[in-house]
Symmetry: D5
């Protein structure tokens, strides 16, 4: 269709293989078409899986990423491939969640970013991890992530 | 207060210790005051715990017991103590749930009984166990147990 | 306003005292204005309380009463006063629920009636009681009572 | 737009006044465009109000009407006006609900029809009324009406 | 990747335009890889829109399609394009829902099929439409569609 | 009926075609009848659809618009037609949401305005976009938009 | 019963007609029995209806009124009659909600007051209106009104 | 069992009669075992009932009491008996709720206390009452009471 | 701990690698300790992932497996490893779900078995697959799987 | 697998007995791999049980622990064993909850920590306890714990 800010991208639209590790994943970004105003964007990622570095068994998480774009928007297919690259990668819950947030913050140079990682229970006790680059700037707004609390059974 | 069908009971009202195992627990029963009609009774037990026979670690379950009394009603304090007696007792999920149902059915001789055991997840996969003495007799009625399904996170 | 089937009633509209016991409560009924067809009526009663006959302490229940009128409809204010009369009356959970159903069935002579009593937890284990006069006649319809299951905390 | 089965209607599209009573309301019907197969239609009516014949005070209900069309579909604007005509009309809960169902059944001559009336609480006890023309014909299907049960507070 | 039952399809994987009307949409089907057993498949379609034939204004619906495949499975991209073809097409609620069901049933020749159409409210009263080819064959199973009932506000 | 602030409007009440693009849509406004006090208004728009500029395929969103009127209220039918004009228009999620908010803010000159765009998932990851003109002025109040978080399945 | 702060009221306890318009409704107030402390009171009004001034058709809303009493409490039956007086009265959504709040604030002279009006959808887009007299005074507390957001279908 | 801070209490463990009025109820308190730190305690009371002083008819409420202990914890059985003493006592909604909060605050001398009273509907409009001793001290934390809003039917 | 029916198992308790494909996964079974009665067992599996055979991209599903054991119970760790073996395996939604059910049925020879596969949305339309070995035998009981329906956004 | 920060731990991976009391439980900690940034971690513990010091009967609670790591992360298996050590230990609700929080705070020396203890009802009134080390440091973020309020029945 029309010529867009997406025209220079490598992975969008083509047949793309899942990267073998986070290191091999290439995040891409496009120019923020509303860069003159402050706003927030949320990605919800219910399909995240990695491996436990202790046992090699699969782990699963539900991630929610909020950010306030500066000059760049993350291109969503490259974000999906980056997150998919953890599929065969060992990662501790706390470390993994914060690392994803920091890599995105380093690449996108947003005005602000936060990530919530809601991990599926192991040993009956789920772990949630919450990181942000700093306090949310005033004048912008983003709702609570609103992920329901874990409650076991009953 | 008044003289009641509860007057001959041993455990009700007194200071009672938790039995050390299901074998040592003594179920008690009282006469069904409405024995001439068919009806159903439900006990919901969100506070059940036993030990894993493989690892000795605690397991937890949410139990729901439905029965259609014949000549007897179970006395609820003795039921609570019987269920509490699993606290230091090793029990597999499937076996434990069905055993509780069968012991109650043997003791109360109800017209019908069923038990649902909704176990907390282990290894990310919870087990539920459902047993009943046979089809629910016609003309009586009991709602679905309605325990919400497990859904992990998100 | 207009002359209605309610015109002969004693308790409706006047200043009425709560009966001191169920025996002193007077149920009233009016002619079923749609007596030529089969239909069902549900009363939901979230404000029921009685006394524990063992301890004298208050008990609470949420009641749902479904019936298929024959020649009579129950007059709702007299139903409310009858149910309110348990306020200072000792009653066991199973017995009380079935007794209310039976008294209504005897007085209204409905084609069918059922009652669900959902008692607040004592000792951590709530009791629910379900009675009906027999199978629901074919050709009529009534939804499940749909009272959410008890789940403790979390 | 196109010539349709709706072309002969009186009330659709014009500026229409609310009828002053149910008697003055004129239901309209259109030919069932799928009359060779059996299917079901549900109208959900959360905006129903009438007057209490005893006190003249407003009553409110949530109605759900299910029917299996024969030769006719009800025209929805005329249905809305008919239901709106109860606004200044006195009606008892049980009688009103069944009467609406019967008038629709008489007018539409459906293969089957049912109505559920879920009235707002008076005296703390809401009344629900359920009527249908007979058992739902086999081979058709309609979900439960699924209106949440009343629960008071908490 | 591998050669599959999907290899002969026209629309899958390519850049495809939305058909301009349902007539121009081409449904495709693939061989049922489990044709020797009876099972059920559900598609949930929360993104359906058409035009009102009376006013030309957009209508929206949430559709749920259940079917029990015979020799064929519907190819999901062609199903999506077919449903998308209603975007600029006038359609009455009752007629549209049943027509979609009948076209799928004619094309797929399933052992059984049903469709539920849950339309967004117009005039404060939403319409739901439910059609199936006949009673669900015994020995198979499919849950209720479980779409929450409309409730207005509050 | 009565002469009102709505009397000068062009689109209200007449037969109106959907504008072919946002540029062709004409927003209208009426005088704020309570302009001497600060208050907030929310429009909830569950029926929004546009086209993906990359693929031409339909996209869907749930929008919530909050504003604090100054001299003007938006006329709701013109708002509906403006939002409907995106139906055949290509729009990226982030850009589209912020653009709608900015056009409304420019036209209505409200004391404050915000928009939340909750897009249906693509590639398994929905995008939400949140923009406001600045911090909500003190002394006014508006609840959280409260749109439930996306959770995938289970 | 006992002599109370309610003894001087006109409408309480008697047979009272619905006022024909808001102008004819007479609000009443009683002395605040806890006037030496700051607290808040919430009325929830799920049974509100008025008429559309453009079409004469009924509108419905769910209202929530919060206030912090000064010298006066509103008498609840007079509040009910005042709100009922909108039944045959034309009122725009934004104007009506704010007007109710302002009349109550003028009459009760509370330390603070707010009103939320949650209107049933028209044209698929419900309007909510939120007004308060100013920021909630420090040291008092009132929960969010917590009315669930509108979501259309699905 | 062991000698504890509870050893001097009068009502705990014994057979205790419900006090006949709030004046006759005796609250008891025990030493705060964590008096050197600031924390909060919540009691949830879904089983509260009193009498309407105007009509003598029963009223029901759901209470939630939050407090930040100073030197004392309330002994929970004495709290239960105090709240039970309203059973045969006339009390207006606003006055009753605030009075309970003030009596507890006077007796316990907590660092902070609040009470929410969520009354069952009368006349279709429930009343909620919220009082606290002052702003919650910084550095402590307590969640919203989270009682779901009343919504009538549907 | 004690010698049990689990004593001969290979994978339980040891450090086990995820099988590379379903073919390489080894299901294990133990003797049913309650083989003389009919009962049902449910496994809920919210952590299932496979690859799309067309694109190689990850797919996710929520599985629920119900069975009525005959001579054997499935050993849960081997079940977990079998389901984990789909992680790097291409599988179509319909085929994959039915295949898992058939392999379990072949291996366990249960009296009855069913599987529900609730797949995460692709192209905005999730697919659910439901298979069972035949009608549930009378006299046993298992609740609906109760997985909430997909609803998109809003 | 790889050498990690977990390599020096005693309890992880081995067969571990439940400690007989909290005093005998040994908490373990690992180096915080993201110690240069401020973030928060939540553990949800729906499987907590202790004994009532007055009666010896079991108590149950749902715990949620939030902390902002400094130099250390708690090792989750040792946390689980510590919490499991209350199984045969007498503990009052208020004291127990705060004690757990203080022991964790003393051992982990976090930048901030809080604990919520949601106890199952006794005597119909559940107790919740909330403690934190002080106000949450600015610039970090953690959602409300979101445990649903207790509501009794109905
Ligand atoms: Ca918030
Ligand atoms: Ca687990
Ligand atoms: Ca059912
Ligand atoms: Ca629980
Ligand atoms: Ca009421
Ligand atoms: Ca059903
Ligand atoms: Ca309740
Ligand atoms: Ca998708
Ligand atoms: Ca999930
Ligand atoms: Ca509408
Ligand atoms: Ca809040
Ligand atoms: Ca409503
Ligand atoms: Ca069912
Ligand atoms: Ca929707
Ligand atoms: Ca209890
Ligand atoms: Ca909050």
């Amino acid at each position: 269709m029309t010529e867009t800010i997406y025209s220079g991208l490598k992975q969008l639209g083509g047949a793309t293989r899942l990267p073998e590790s986070p290191d091999q994943a290439e995040l891409e970004r496009v120019q923020n078409p509303q860069a003159d105003v402050a706003y927030n964007v949320r990605f919800t990622v219910p399909e995240f899986t990695s491996l436990c570095p202790m046992t090699g068994q699969p782990d699963f998480a539900h991630l929610v990423i909020d950010y306030m774009p500066g000059d760049w928007l993350v291109e969503s297919k490259s974000l999906k491939l980056y997150l998919g690259s953890f599929r065969n990668h060992g990662a501790f819950h706390e470390d993994c969640t914060v690392s994803i947030g920091r890599r995105l913050a380093g690449f996108l140079k947003p005005r602000w970013l936060r990530i919530g990682g809601y991990w599926y229970p192991r040993g009956g006790m789920p772990i949630d991890v919450f990181w942000q680059t700093g306090p949310m700037p005033e004048a912008v707004w983003i709702p609570d992530q609103g992920v329901p609390p874990y409650r076991g059974r009953g």
